[in-house]
Symmetry: C2
Subunit: 343 residues, 2 copies
């Protein structure tokens, strides 16, 4: 790999099942020249997320264009401005937005790329992909705006050790809720307890529906759903009156072929409850507010970024494949080139 080249990962073919090496194609090109009004970004960190397999499958998701074979794979990243012909950006600025799987990017900074500056919080700027990125903002708005939590609520969070989930756990504890985290495996449950969960449930051993019922004798007031399917159904069976379900993600659906048939949605009626879809791109005008609040919590130590870091641009395909095995914690990202505060 040549650091004087723009290195790229492109789509070699459509994935079938989990992604494998043959689905990716590695390229090295000249570093692009910038034109008037453009900036040149050097990639510091790239996000890794389950949705990327759907990009590779040619689906248009979250406002991103559908990709063809041979295209650079979509991915948000954090980059450093190393040249600038744009009045709003100067060399040394750190910004996050649509970088794609590549080590350099020249851009006029368009709306669709959703670039924004990453604030200095005295920690590595990878935080622009975790707490101060779409992951943190999803947790913030999903929990507070859609979830309408109250201090005394019993909150269940699935995918609790994941990127959004691990932040929601901390936000809910900051508010004072009783927090039940659901994750797969003993290690992740240990991680959740360290993170502050009152109870951590392992969905991989025993009957998760019975476990959820057992630990919520007064019902669930807020279920923050990152997985869909069976755990959603189990929570629907244990709702308190006037409860809220926030549908934030359903990683299980990115791979499974048969969608899950939810038969007990009528429990929403019996409990006067609400199930609400959540989509961060409907909150883009309010991100500054979320960032400010999150920054305060980071400063006070109440909330910390949980990042699972893969090292080196060449590791991207393997890193993505590993996400579907469910072994990682927090936000998965790749450190392409170390930035300020990085060891």
């Amino acid at each position: 790999m040549n650091s004087n080249k723009n290195c790229q990962w492109r789509i070699a073919r459509r994935p079938s099942g989990n992604v494998v090496h043959e689905d990716f194609e590695y390229h090295e090109n000249e570093i692009p020249k910038i034109e008037n009004g453009q900036i040149l970004l050097k990639t510091l960190y790239l996000n890794l997320a389950p949705v990327m397999r759907m990009y590779m499958s040619g689906k248009s998701i979250a406002g991103e264009a559908a990709l063809n074979i041979g295209d650079v794979i979509h991915g948000r990243g954090v980059g450093e401005v190393i040249e600038s012909n744009h009045s709003d950006y100067k060399v040394g600025d750190i910004i996050q937005g649509q970088m794609g799987w590549q080590t350099y990017k020249a851009t006029s900074v368009t709306n669709s790329e959703k670039f924004r500056k990453v604030p200095d919080a005295g920690v590595p700027y990878s935080i622009g992909l975790s707490l101060f990125g779409m992951t943190g903002f999803s947790a913030y708005f999903g929990f507070f705006s859609s979830g309408k939590p109250k201090k005394e609520d019993t909150v269940v969070i699935s995918g609790a050790a994941g990127g959004v989930g691990s932040i929601v756990v901390q936000l809910a504890k900051t508010l004072g809720c009783k927090v039940i985290g659901v994750a797969g495996g003993v290690e992740k449950c240990g991680f959740l307890e360290d993170l502050g969960c009152d109870i951590a449930l392992d969905y991989k051993t025993g009957d998760i529906a019975s476990k959820i019922k057992e630990v919520t004798p007064n019902g669930i007031d807020l279920y923050f759903d990152n997985v869909g399917g069976e755990i959603l159904s189990a929570c629907l069976d244990n709702l308190a009156q006037n409860s809220r379900i926030v549908l934030c993600g359903s990683i299980s659906e990115y791979i499974s072929v048969e969608p899950y048939g939810l038969t007990n949605y009528t429990n929403l009626r019996k409990t006067n409850s609400t199930m609400q879809g959540f989509f961060i791109y409907n909150h883009m005008d309010d991100l500054d507010e979320a960032e400010k609040k999150l920054k305060n919590w980071v400063s006070s130590g109440a909330v910390k970024p949980i990042e699972y870091i893969f090292d080196g641009f060449l590791s991207m395909p393997d890193a993505l494949a590993s996400l579907y095995n469910g072994k990682n914690y927090g936000v998965a990202l790749c450190r392409v080139s170390p930035g300020p505060y990085d060891l």
Copy 2:
């Protein structure tokens, strides 16, 4: 049938499939004597509703006690006070509440019976079971509180020719929405057009999912669900951004054995939409407000009660059985004894 007796319909056995004659038992008893603090009611009208089959099956629903074989069947009704030892009620008052399937009732007027006076609107007091009863109140709060409608909304209503549905149709037209009513059969669709629906869709002929898609090119802003299952699924496939689904009823479930598996609930996430359960018993403190508004609309002619009237107490079992055939319009009720304004 002896009008000097208290005539009753009781449960003879648990129904299997639709109700049949053998499930009911007819009794004649002495008219009860009232004690201190009690009133004696003479039944004028009794409600008929699909949920009654579930009462007969022994299920405890909507706060009503589970019934045993031999018990008088639950049912809300309108009655006239013909004797009173209770300071809040005088002879001649017309009240609605839990009467049971019988022609007289002595009661201390308990909270669980949810009795309230029926206002005089210059129309028969059967309106205490339609517009000024739980049906009208369900339509009012389900549409306005849960549905959060806006003037420019495209509103789809299933079971639109039914008790709650036919009122929601009128409320939505009063607000100025584009209203699409779904019902079974050509006759009901004609009724819906007369009632003010912009479009009436017959789910019994052709593919209802395609029809719904065709008439909602800009998506559905509000879906008021009275049936669940397939039509709910079709609406989930055609949601506009930030839309609302109100789950008010699911008559299809009262009879069908296998609950419907909803696979596309994840569309709530893609459209930032909400699916909310609705249950009238969570709004009992606000009924006066609803009644006042509904009374104004009745006076101005903007909203009218839609009642499907069976005549005579002896017709109750057949009347209930006929509900599941889906032939009736509006609120089904039985005129047990004509009251004021009745012809």
